[in-house]
């Protein structure tokens, strides 16, 4: 089964990202293929490397980066949603005249077309959020 995931909530307010992570990890470990993980709405906040949770809590952002490295996952942040919420890679920061970037390893910024493509190319598109 080839699936994709959409996450539409931020990392520490809502369980959507935790559940999506567990789902994705379990599916990959069971031999399924993940075409793409797409972050939309406040979900783009899952891609900031400046997140610093207390050390006795899970690190939602690092977990995604590690899963991406282990399975060559495509983690995509919606560019319009990311711009609204202050998430930028080096190119985006430069283009918008910002003095810093904050995207976490393994993530990339792209357009909403990537979400539509995920829907077309995958057997299932599973969404996590309210």
């Amino acid at each position: 089964m080839k699936f994709s995931v959409m996450i539409s909530e931020g990392p520490y307010t809502h369980q959507a990202s935790d559940t999506a992570y567990n789902f994705t990890k379990a599916a990959l470990e069971n031999g399924h293929e993940c075409f793409r993980v797409f972050f939309y709405h406040d979900g783009v906040n899952n891609g900031t490397r400046l997140s610093t949770p207390p050390t006795d809590d899970r690190n939602v952002i690092n977990r995604w980066s590690e899963l991406a490295a282990a399975h060559n996952l495509d983690l995509v942040l919606c560019v319009a949603a990311a711009q609204r919420r202050g998430i930028a890679d080096a190119d985006e920061a430069k283009r918008n005249g910002k003095d810093a970037d904050n995207i976490a390893p393994g993530f990339r910024i792209s357009g909403l077309g990537q979400l539509i493509e995920a829907g077309i190319q995958s057997d299932r598109l599973v969404t996590f959020g309210d």
Partner: protein, 135 residues
């Protein structure tokens, strides 16, 4: 990408107060370029997204409701509104803005895009969709 899938965008939230409705509309407009079979469903508080006469000055948010009228130009003309959700909110089709499209198979006659359906009918539409994006 030659494959055509049935995309259904499900809108369940009020237009203002959260950003979901606005960012859903952005997906629909981008998605229209992909030449898929597209339909929209409005239920729960999502039916408020289509009400006419929206005035947002007091809440300081952009009134994006006129954008829905552009959907017909994007060949997005299957818009389902759930009857039960309208009833529960004391609304009827007359409270919604008219959304139309030009039917190229019928000498470009202007037709209504909105169809009011029951929850049971909407369930069938969902069942027949390949990709459901819920906002």
């Amino acid at each position: 990408m030659s494959e055509t899938k049935k995309f259904l965008y499900v809108n369940r939230k009020a237009p203002y107060g959260t950003i979901y409705a606005l960012e859903s509309l952005e997906v629909v407009l981008i998605g229209a370029a992909f030449e898929q079979d597209v339909a929209l469903a409005f239920l729960d508080d999502g039916v408020y997204q289509l009400t006419k006469g929206q005035a947002t000055d007091e809440v300081g948010m952009k009134n994006f409701s006129p954008t829905y009228r552009a959907l017909g130009d994007y060949d997005v003309n299957k818009i389902y509104v759930e009857q039960e959700s309208l009833d529960a909110r004391g609304l009827s089709l007359d409270d919604l803005q008219a959304l139309t499209y030009e039917d190229e198979d019928d000498d470009y006659a202007e037709k209504d895009s909105i169809k009011v359906v029951s929850a049971a009918e909407l369930a069938k539409i969902m069942e027949q969709s390949d990709v459901i994006l819920s906002f």
